[in-house]
Symmetry: C2
Amino acid sequence: MNPPPDQIAFLLACDRLKAVQRTTFLHDGSRAENSAEHSWHLALMALTLAEHAPIGMDLNRVIRLLLVHDLVEIHAGDLHFDAPDADHAAQAQAEERAAHALYGLLPDDQQADFHALRSEFEARLTPEARFARALDALQPMLLTWGEGGLGCTGRAPELTASRVLRLKESALRDFPALWTLAQEIVSGAVRAGTLPP
Amino acid sequence: MNPPPDQIAFLLACDRLKAVQRTTFLHDGSRAENSAEHSWHLALMALTLAEHAPIGMDLNRVIRLLLVHDLVEIHAGDLHFDAPDADHAAQAQAEERAAHALYGLLPDDQQADFHALRSEFEARLTPEARFARALDALQPMLLTWGEGGLGCTGRAPELTASRVLRLKESALRDFPALWTLAQEIVSGAVRAGTLPP
């Protein structure tokens, strides 16, 4: 049986995630990262840092969650992690509508699978969703302030080391290896002068 | 235990895949696709078209193969599928060297895992590698000549429908659903005037 036209329409619609710009820049500072390549980088991080996930975690599920976690941005756009609470609430509603528009392109049985991946990621109820979200919190820190990173003082002058750690802690503290790494990245950036203390 | 610095150095080196330009353009024709977002799109295709894989295939393995299959392009660059044979041979050597340079950043035990993924993909010996390669052959066709696609006559004027199918057949013919879809994409492009017959 051929792939039904709706699966193909969905995959073509998903091409537009490559045009969604994030606030994070690539590590060399050359341009903003887009959400498609970000999703790839997260899946690769999951594969590379697998040994730092809690024992028993389903890494394949983590990878699937990461591959689809930003798809709703095709309609709803990306939001900076330091945006006001009201913006986060409005964004959540926009993403809910976006999920129905985008997944609605798929055959019925498959819509449920994609909605389930999104709900799991958003609800943070499973270890897999929490690990996926921890990687999602860590990856922009790595690009921005990891070894050789240029920081983002020009783009986000209000960010300080303590503010970054306060905003990232809830996503990362359950995974000591990742949380320690995040703290080391921030200390390194302060030493390098790319992030105010 | 913290992620060792070599895993982090590897993940930062991999950021450069986002700067490797492919000859394929995004579906809207706005720019060339890069190899990182291409890898994401392939993994998403595997997830979406899973039901068209032969029964018993390990889809999680397919996704892992696709996530890493282009990493060597960070050092070796991308090559068009219609390039001369000599270029393909030189490219294979360059990619072998690239794999050792890039995976050499990783801890020893993990280098073997990444080399194994690459060897499996290159050797086409497993059903998972063949399905991954079939998706890799299909995805640029979808972007270029799928519904609404703009074709590439300006960039590759020598390409014809029969030449595209001849070049793609070996990767696709073992998967009837994908091969039929490829043929339909090409017929549609000929009808739309975006690909000479």
